[in-house]
């Protein structure tokens, strides 16, 4: 088994297997990735970096496509409001 990686999703620590993407970590934590222009919660959709629905704030960088980023220990992830 790959060793787990701990990331922080909206302030709460979440432990995921290494190789997990940030989008998946957010789904596991039960958090959506972004809020749409009319205020709808949105989660990952296309899973391949095209639709931009999985945009989140990763280590302070907004609009990061979380489905294209692998979790790293200590990463801070937030829903893109």
């Amino acid at each position: 088994m790959p060793s787990p990686v701990s990331v922080v999703v909206n302030g709460k620590p979440v432990s995921v297997p290494s190789g997990t993407t940030v989008a998946v970590a957010m789904m596991i934590a039960g958090h959506t990735c972004r809020t749409s222009v009319t205020g709808e919660p949105r989660g990952p959709f296309c899973g391949m970096g095209i639709c931009f629905e999985c945009r989140a704030v990763v280590n302070g960088i907004p609009h990061s496509r979380s489905c294209q980023i692998l979790c790293e220990s200590g990463m801070d992830v937030r829903t893109d409001e």
């Binding site: 993407t21 749409s36 919660p41 959709f45 970096g49 095209i50 609009h63």
Partner: protein, 437 residues
């Protein structure tokens, strides 16, 4: 920070077509680079993962390593400021890529059609959900409705089942009559028969419903139930995920930007996979949706041609055979007109800008709709709502403008004058546009 590379043959896209092109060119001794926007090579179909068992994929990966191809993963090509020079962006830097000959192998994406509730969290693309599971999403014991059209749905349902998901129903919009024709065509393809038989085994316990499609997804803050139309009757199915997709559309933004001739939505190529521009070749899904066999044949022909070599007659025969299969795919999974009536007036067609169906239906063209509603002007730049609108309203797609992917402002600022020329700053809203409220 920026870097620059120069190649005899540069390949854009590291799926089967791109890898095959890079390998065949590099094995002839020329300097070859391969770029992909994903962090790992393999494209959507050979996506890495612990359960990677595809023999053909491992064989090609090995040849790629042995042929000393220079790999540039995690880089998105966004502009060609002058002929022969591409600009790409990674998370950390800007990258200039010079080429003598180019092979475009940008693959395809799923086509999505809007229906009420399709923006709810846990409604995902079929390939998208599969990718998520490969990237660590626990799926054991989860209920997943798979719906839409195309052979990918079968592969996804089989994959999910194998990983412990329940698939209460697989909805395929195509009618039985056309699926029967598809089955007949499979019989003439020995490799496809074994694939089909393996799938049949893996799909035991999945209820396959032809003439069926999703009508609506329901839930408070996330998906709870899907309503499907099953052979004319509507039925509610509680589920954890809806995996939907309506076959594939080619990624032709880059060949469009480069000025390659497009014919009926696909890149026009000659017998050697050469586009209308003499040093640009194209292989795989951008020329026709034909799957991995066609991609490998076209990729090899393109790679050889781009390095100045002729392909064998056998390779051309393989391509012809795969092209016949592509035509069968196209006929079988053509979208039925009923699907044009799925959106309600409130259903968002453009997910980036939350533009509802009611605001779009009265516009005469994609361009008019974009100007008046911002449809297609969000970060995905119309990659999702464009193909949907083309089907819903018969709008012709527009030309593309650089950058073809959103680029960070700091990277744009780092461009020197020669690189900056191609970028029309007047159309600023295509750039790294933040989520405006």
């Amino acid at each position: 920070m920026s870097s620059a590379h120069s190649f005899d043959v540069l390949v854009i896209g590291a799926g089967p077509a791109g890898i095959a092109a890079a390998v065949r060119a590099a094995e002839r001794g020329v300097r070859v680079g391969i770029v992909d926007d994903n962090s790992t090579l393999g494209g959507q179909i050979w996506r890495g993962g612990s359960d990677q068992q595809d023999e053909s994929a491992s064989k090609w990966r090995e040849r790629l390593r042995d042929a000393a191809v220079f790999t540039l993963p995690g880089k998105r090509v966004f502009d060609q400021p002058v002929a022969g020079v591409l600009l790409a962006e990674s998370d950390h830097e800007l990258c200039e890529l010079r080429y003598k000959n180019l092979v475009v192998a940008t693959g395809a994406r799923e086509r999505f059609l809007p229906f009420p509730g399709w923006t709810l969290p846990n409604v995902l693309g079929a390939g998208g959900l599969q990718a998520m599971v490969k990237q660590g999403l626990p799926i054991r014991g989860k209920r997943v409705v798979v719906a839409g059209t195309g052979p990918l749905l079968l592969a996804v349902a089989a994959y999910l089942r194998k990983h412990g998901a329940q698939v209460p129903v697989l909805c395929e919009q195509a009618p039985w009559s056309r699926l029967a024709g598809f089955a007949t065509a499979l019989v003439s393809e020995p490799t496809k028969i074994s694939q089909a038989l393996r799938l049949t085994g893996e799909l035991a316990g999945v209820s396959f419903a032809a003439n069926s499609w999703p009508l609506a997804a329901h839930g408070q803050n996330q998906l709870e139930t899907v309503t499907i139309s099953r052979s004319g009757k509507s039925q509610d199915i509680p589920c954890d995920y809806l995996a939907c997709g309506f076959h594939l559309v080619p990624n032709i933004e880059l060949p469009l930007l480069l000025g390659c001739r497009i014919h009926e939505g696909f890149v026009h190529v000659d017998d050697l996979q050469q586009t209308s521009i003499s040093n640009i070749f194209c292989a795989g899904e951008p020329t026709a949706i034909g799957g991995v066999d066609l991609a490998l044949a076209e990729g090899q022909i393109a790679g050889l041609a781009a390095s100045g070599h002729a392909a064998s007659a056998q390779l051309f025969r393989q391509r012809e055979r795969a092209r016949r299969f592509a035509r069968v795919l196209d006929r079988t999974f053509r979208l039925r007109d009923e699907l044009k009536h799925l959106p309600s007036p409130e259903t968002f067609v453009c997910r980036c800008e939350d533009v509802p169906f009611s605001r779009l239906r009265n516009h005469a063209s994609w361009r008019a709709a974009k100007l008046h509603t911002r449809c297609g002007m969000g970060p995905c730049q119309g990659r999702i709502c464009g193909p949907a609108s083309e089907f819903l309203f018969n709008w012709r797609p527009d030309s593309v403008r650089p950058p073809i992917f959103p680029v960070r402002v700091e990277n744009l600022a780092a461009l020197d004058d020669s690189q900056r020329l191609a970028i029309p700053f007047a159309t600023g809203d295509a750039y790294a546009r933040p989520n405006m409220k």
